[in-house]
Assembly symmetry: C2
Homo-oligomer: 1003 residues x 2
């Protein structure tokens, strides 16, 4: 099961609804005017009752911090970030340090009471930290019932006694290991086994215990599927479902036995199809009382609703759908844009509200009228009176009683609406979270953000006292523009990741090629089909030194013509090559899977990066050949531009067999150099395919030469040939330094100093600070260290863990690594494929032995028997060593394999010192939620590519220009704006345009 899909997992819950006043589009005439009229009538009644309600709970808005946060956006961002990391802070000093750090961020104005306290300095430290802790705990207690089942009972009882029912939800951290999945399962089972007995003793309330078809359970539990397995990844939907069904079995059987209602929460879009499928299969396998949350903010909402209704009708099942607007709107929007994927959610709240009403009407229409009939019973998870009223109106029109509908609202929110609902005799269920402070903070922050959002319907209705008309306005609109669609369509212009010279490619700025979204089933099928049909053409490493010389001679002869080819023509070759690669993406990925042993996502990223290099360099090269005028002197025309250097030798590595080879080759070609490509001996086939694509795209055969052969002969000859003007190399430090040294010698007849573009190794570290979000850090380090078996120069080979984070991080990391699947890379569920060859395997294994003598051997994942034979390549299981010290070889030497050294550091200072120690300076990472530590890392963690609060591999062209210094390279930064400068030489011209004392342009 592929787990390299890192993501944020915020807690799932129904979302509140915004005021339907969002702009965009034109109001359309209601399809059913009577229904609309009734909606407004019910809504007005509901709102009036709510506003008249005397609730005895203080709204969260009255909290001092919340009040200030709503006035000051910068303060809000920082204080909520502080709240988020608060539970990881072990003592008052840490709380105080972090609080003052967050409040010292640019643009933040702390509220006067805080400012005064802070100004008093350490004198007030005790008071400040106590006040802050109290306020956070107080806010948390508004939204969270208790820390565990037992401590929550009084709150649940109170809910019940106040005339509401509830659904219990277990808050939790990300589930990264089987151990954590097991712990969740135990908690759910505990609830299901024990809660009904207690609840049964509480007083009867028919309004809450029956719907129009009969009894419904008092005990209602919400589960998040991502917490039930460490191996949930949509790329392997089948495997994920198999594992989840296995883990769910005991829970659902217990629920059935105990008469407990189980609701499947809906999490991010990537898991939507998997969750729907799982839900249906679970219902078919276990006959329990089942519910499913569905999200109206998804553009697929209407289709999703149809699918579930159709299934329930076809199978004759009665299930409940909790219809929510959706709680991951920001994440889905941000993530889609980062990935370049279509935004899956409606961009305007008003469109989500409209979708909500449409879906609700569809569910009402499908609601079974009799006990035996299949269909969907509707639960409305909304704090928006308009949305509720519209559904009640639809229910009335269908002739169903109010009891056929359930309302659901969040514990601690919308008290006025709850009071009104009770008055109106509606069944209302509170969504009641239970959990510890750490997992609870994510939930708390989400609630705080909602409550302080200007789009909050509750805030509009009860804090800002908007007009009834505005609050109940119809969300149904026609619109011509769609910000969510435009966000992706216009991304190249918004981001300007490159120049956008006219006539080059599509004339727009470069944008990173979106990787495959393997959450989509047709994407998976098509990739799978490519794997099945693609074979790797044999390319022998048969080239000799003489072949290399002949290739250089031919490239040398072809230089003048290629140099003088117009830039647009050269760039068009790259663009055409990118187009062919785009068309053949899965096939090329499949070839990489087979030749290099990469897993699906890694191979796909390799192809995307190759396309990116073509499109990026095609655009970035244009300005180099366009004379730039310096100054505006009359009578003096000063200009500067560049020319190519001559013959370039490209000596490529096997670890990005397409991307890196392509990047170096097309950089040289587009700048007018002719090229001899010497591929890595392990991956000549994909390099040969790349050359064929470039030839077809218009690169002259003579201008692009391909010689596969040994480095000792072909490589050495290329480097030393006096006609080779430039050597672009990516590979080991040893070979890189040899090339640098050989290139420094000017051979007889050589008319220039050779230029070397050189990227070498890394010994990259990730620092995990005490305030790190371990949910993220564990997964990111696992991916950075073990993705493609650590065979990336950017791979993490050291995790430096500060103080109190050491134990929990190491524990969770080992657990998470244990959850990785070692297998055939052709299978989507494989996380860990083979290493590149026996020599590599031997070297890695020798370092594992060294590790055993230097530190504590925490883990080497086992390789399943027979796998090596089946795949035909050697495997080395991911290995973790703890207690490694800076002087150890595991802390200094590049291994280029899946071996991670975990190193303790007493504080952040020491962590930085350890991190900076090796001679390599390539990538690095820091997980921290202390702003000052992040700022310091920016300054003092001296590597070419630093990553903060994310994994340290996967640099994207144009976004993270890639390359290091020290022994990691000479500072070239592939995919960056300076890169092509290395392939050219500058020329300047100064023309005196004055003739006879006159020059054009004088005013």
């Amino acid at each position: 099961m592929a787990l390299f899909f890192t993501r944020k997992k915020p807690a799932a819950q129904p979302a509140p609804s915004p005021a339907p006043s969002a702009p965009g589009g034109r109001t359309v005439e209601p399809a059913d005017p009577a229904l609309e009229a009734r909606t407004l009538e019910v809504g007005a009644d509901f709102l009036a009752r709510a506003r008249a309600a005397k609730t005895n709970m203080l709204a969260v808005w009255s909290e001092g911090l919340m009040d200030w946060a709503m006035q000051d956006e910068a303060f809000k961002v920082q204080i909520f970030r502080f709240v988020d990391c608060f539970p990881t802070l072990k003592d008052n000093d840490a709380v105080y340090d972090h609080l003052t750090d967050y409040l010292a961020q640019p643009g933040v104005t702390p509220p006067p009471f805080v400012a005064t306290a802070l100004k008093a300095g350490v004198l007030m430290k005790g008071v400040v930290t106590k006040t802050m802790s109290t306020q956070i705990t107080s806010m948390a207690s508004k939204f969270i019932c208790g820390t565990d089942a037992a401590s929550s009972l009084p709150a649940l009882r109170k809910i019940w006694d106040s005339g509401l029912c509830f659904s219990v939800d277990l808050l939790g951290e990300a589930c990264v290991s089987d151990e954590e999945a097991e712990a969740y399962r135990r908690k759910y089972l505990d609830l299901i086994e024990n809660l009904p007995g207690t609840v049964a003793t509480w007083g009867a309330n028919p309004r809450l215990e029956t719907d129009h078809l009969g009894a419904i359970p008092r005990t209602n539990v919400s589960i998040k599927i991502s917490s039930l397995s460490a191996r949930v990844d949509p790329i392997d939907t089948e495997g994920s479902i198999r594992g989840l069904l296995e883990n769910l079995g005991p829970i659902l059987e217990a629920a059935k036995r105990k008469g407990v209602f189980v609701n499947f929460d809906m999490e991010q879009f990537a898991l939507k199809d998997l969750t729907l499928e799982l839900f249906m299969r679970a219902c078919e396998k276990h006959d329990f009382q089942a519910g499913l949350a569905m999200q109206a903010y998804l553009r697929s909402g209407d289709d999703d609703a149809r699918r579930v209704i159709e299934w329930s009708k076809r199978t004759g099942r009665q299930v409940t759908v909790r219809l929510v607007k959706g709680a991951y709107w920001d994440y889905e929007t941000i993530n889609a844009e980062q990935q370049g994927w279509p935004v899956p959610v409606w961009s305007r709240k008003v469109d989500t509200d409209a979708s909500f009403e449409r879906m609700a009407r569809a569910f009402v229409a499908s609601t079974p009228a009799t006990k035996g009939e299949g269909g969907v019973k509707l639960a409305l998870g909304s704090h928006n009176a308009r949305s509720i009223a519209a559904t009640i109106a639809a229910l009335e029109k269908r002739g169903l009683p109010n009891s056929a509908l359930e309302l659901q609202m969040l514990y601690g929110m919308g008290d006025q609406l709850k009071a009104a609902s009770i008055e109106m005799g509606l069944r209302l269920r509170e969504y009641a979270p239970i959990g510890e402070l750490i997992p609870g903070m994510a939930y708390l922050v989400r609630r705080l953000l909602e409550n302080s959002s200007n789009e909050s319907w509750l805030k509009a209705g009860f804090k800002d006292n908007a007009s009834t008309e505005r609050l109940l306005a119809s969300p149904h609109r026609a619109f011509d523009s769609d910000p969510g669609v435009e966000r992706i369509a216009k991304a190249p212009e918004r981001h300007r990741l490159s120049a956008s010279p006219a006539g080059i490619s599509n004339g727009r700025a470069f944008y990173t090629e979106p990787m495959r979204n393997f959450a989509l089933s047709d994407v998976r099928s098509s990739f799978n089909a490519a794997i099945a049909r693609t074979s790797v053409p044999a390319v022998a490493n048969a080239g000799t030194a003489d072949d290399a010389k002949r290739a250089v001679a031919a490239a040398h002869a072809a230089f003048a013509a290629w140099r003088d080819t117009p830039y647009a023509t050269r760039a068009a070759v790259l663009v055409a090559a990118a187009a062919e690669m785009r068309t053949r993406r899965d096939e090329l990925s499949a070839a990489i899977v087979k030749e290099s042993g990469k897993v699906w996502r890694e191979a796909d990223a390799d192809v995307c990066e190759a396309i990116d290099f073509c499109e990026y360099y095609a655009r970035e090269g244009a300005r180099l050949f366009e004379p730039e005028r310096l100054g505006q002197f009359v009578g003096e025309l000063d200009e500067q531009w560049y020319q190519p250097r001559g013959v370039a030798a490209v000596i490529a590595p096997w670890n990005f067999p397409l991307a890196i080879c392509c990047g170096m080759t097309v950089a040289a070609l587009v700048t007018g150099n002719t090229v001899v490509v010497k591929p890595a001996e392990q991956t000549p086939s994909i390099a040969r395919t790349m050359c064929e694509i470039l030839w077809r795209a218009g690169a002259p055969r003579e201008a692009l030469q391909f010689v596969a052969g040994p480095g000792e002969t072909v490589g050495a000859t290329l480097v030393r040939d006096p006609r080779v003007a430039l050597i672009a190399f990516t590979g080991s430090k040893a070979v890189g330094l040899d090339i640098v040294q050989a290139s420094g010698i000017v051979a007889p007849g050589q008319e220039f100093v050779k230029k070397v573009v050189c990227e070498m190794g890394g010994k990259n570290a990730v620092i995990i600070d005490t305030s790190a979000d371990l949910d993220e850090a564990v997964l990111a380090v696992r991916q950075s260290a073990f993705g493609f078996c650590g065979q990336k120069c950017s791979a993490a080979s050291r995790a430096i863990v500060v103080g109190s984070a050491y134990e929990p991080f190491l524990h969770r990391l080992v657990g998470a690594t244990r959850a990785l699947v070692v297998g055939d890379p052709a299978n989507p569920g494989t996380d860990i494929g083979p290493v590149i060859d026996e020599e590599a395997a031997r070297k890695i294994r020798s370092y594992i032995e060294i590790g055993k003598s230097e530190g504590r051997h925490e883990l080497t994942l086992e390789v399943p028997a027979g796998l090596e034979q089946k795949v035909g390549k050697p495997f080395v299981g991911p290995s973790i060593f703890s207690g490694i010290k800076p002087e150890h070889r595991l802390a200094r030497e590049e291994i280029f394999g899946p071996v991670l050294a975990v190193m303790p550091a007493k504080d952040f200072d020491e962590a930085l010192e350890i991190a900076n120690a090796p001679e390599y300076k390539l990538t690095g990472g820091v997980f921290s939620r202390k702003p000052a530590h992040l700022a310091r890392a920016r300054r003092e963690f001296r590597v070419g590519n630093l990553y903060l609060n994310r994994g340290i591999t996967g640099a994207l062209v144009g976004r993270q220009p890639f390359g290091g210094f020290g022994m990691s390279g000479i500072g070239s930064k592939a995919g960056g704006r300076d890169y092509l400068l290395q392939f050219v030489e500058p020329r300047a011209v100064c023309e005196n345009t004055m003739r006879r004392g006159f020059a054009p342009g004088l005013e």
Copy 2:
């Protein structure tokens, strides 16, 4: 006499006046309303008569080409450029090629009759070239009396007979040699000896032959002083005047004997003071009938007038001043801005007109009323009726008769005004040029431009028929803004030669430091005083390898602190150093003169360039340390910036002992590297002074180390020290390649690959095309080849001359070189100082011997006896060899001395081939007036710095980023935008700013 002051020398003559309608300022009340009223009265009468005049000459406007030129600016520029080069074209093919080339330039629309003919292609070639030649000759004959004295007699006779008198002017090319000066003198003498006899036979005309004080000569000759000596340079005003007086003697004595009036024309501003001084001394020495042209467009006009009036009164002399507006307005404006000097001319025509009236009134007031009295008699050189009327009114007011005033107008222009003048009984003299077609073209083009200018008063009055009111409007205005002042004041913003980061230096963009304007006497005195008082502190080259190691160790230890110093602080060091150098400019220049043997202008340029490097790099470095955001992703903050490399070794040359040493040092310092400076062994003192300035400016002692010592020990140690991260070197190819090779070796303990910034030699060529303007080419090649004895990597060591240009170019170049003064560089009149040391002298002399065996030895300038002893350094006279072939050593090897190989080429193709042959690729030049050849040279003359139609040395920071490729260097371009990139390493950071699914900035 210093002759390295190249300049355009357009022919001198009185300028026409513009319509006084130019904008700017507010009309002020006339100081004397009666005078103004009378001015308008006289002007209206004059204008009415002129408009009523029936002249039988066709105005030049009626010419087809002129008509079209006035409609189409692009066509005008190109056709006038074609006219300019027309006389150099030897046959119909050349005429046709150039014509079609000019008309094919971007934006040009040829008139229909030309377009039709061109479309017919070579079929019409004969017709096209004949028509064009006829039209040019016809236009020329409108403005030029004849090709020589004899052929001009009929035209002069016609002038006299029509009631006008004349002043004869000899058109000529630039005078670059004694031979040419001698030829001019002979022509003047011929005129003066022979014209009076002929003229005396013509009919009497008292109006023309007498003024209010008596008889005036019929024969009036205008002379240009620049044509009378090849050694006119204001830097050596005394020497220039001495030489001129010597050459003028026979002419003035002959004039006195023959009763011929001699008028000194006024040329460009740089010669103004020299000409005034010369005129006065000539008058005092020779008692001839003397006149002097003075220019009202000069801002110094009022002062100049006062000076001459005061002198005439004081000495009791009667002289005539021909008051003109001025003919070099474009040149003066363009040149001043290129130099960064105050614009010496009024920027608005209206202000010139006002100055003209003020100066005229001053001269009228000084006009002697009696024979014995000293004072200025006024001749008005103007085609502007308002200007003339204002002066007549002043004359009337003073009570002088009209005969006390002379009008002067150009031959072929203003015929209506001339007719009116005769009617009004005024004496009007025509300025009558005589000359061949080649020198005549400059004059012709000037007339064509004037006549087609929208500011021409004549055009306004007689072609566009502007209103009398507009034509006679008073030019006296008050104004708040002055475009000419603003042109210089706002130059940094207009040219944007660099970034202008806030808080760095003055917050404005970089602008090149203006060199000293040695035409100004106080500038000369102050420089001379500095020479007298400055001595060169002794600095021994006593450093050892151990000293070098210690310096590296100290710089290494100082690195972290300097690296972490805020950029603004580092930049401030450079700015403060520049400020001190600016304050001590002449002293630093004087030290350079004494230590390196540079002449004044070369030493001054050295200091200016050092200042420029400081100011430019201070600004350009800022952006490197300011994180640049890539893209605008929400939740993803991608940034890139740079960090310094470590310890930099600066190994400096002696030929720009301050500028290049300073450039490399401050580039390294400002980017945060610490530096060890190893100066050239020949010039340690100025390098030491530079370090002292930088220390005083705030560079920490430890961060900037100075070790003077031998290259073999100190240099070699620095290059090989494993702690040295960067070597910046400028010097010979041999040493450069050694450094490159040594730097490729990674020593034990070395944690990076060394970076080498390396500039080496040149074997630079200037191509002289058949259509070259030889006036310019000869002076530019002389300066490029022999400036600082050719001891610049940019120096010209080859002149490649195409076809018919070979003989005249070589002849003039040898003559021009012969005019150079070999002497003590401390004297302003010295062109050629010593070479740097005995070793250099030996090497250069050996190449002179080689040259004698390879080609024809045209010249080696003799070194005056005793000079080497006096100066204490060896001298080698500039040498020219002709007939050098590409395979000769003189065509391939860098000599680094004043030895020029002149090489014939049969056509431009061959010239380019020869030019590109050497392994060096540094500078190059082309003199051509064929647009297609210039365009081809841009593409195909492959050198780092190409110069078109100008000299090939003297690259300016920011304007001509300097550096070559091939064996000339690794393409670094000092003073360019990429230069600092070499001193830094890129870093990138990618921060995931999403927390809990939320990130700031999402809309």
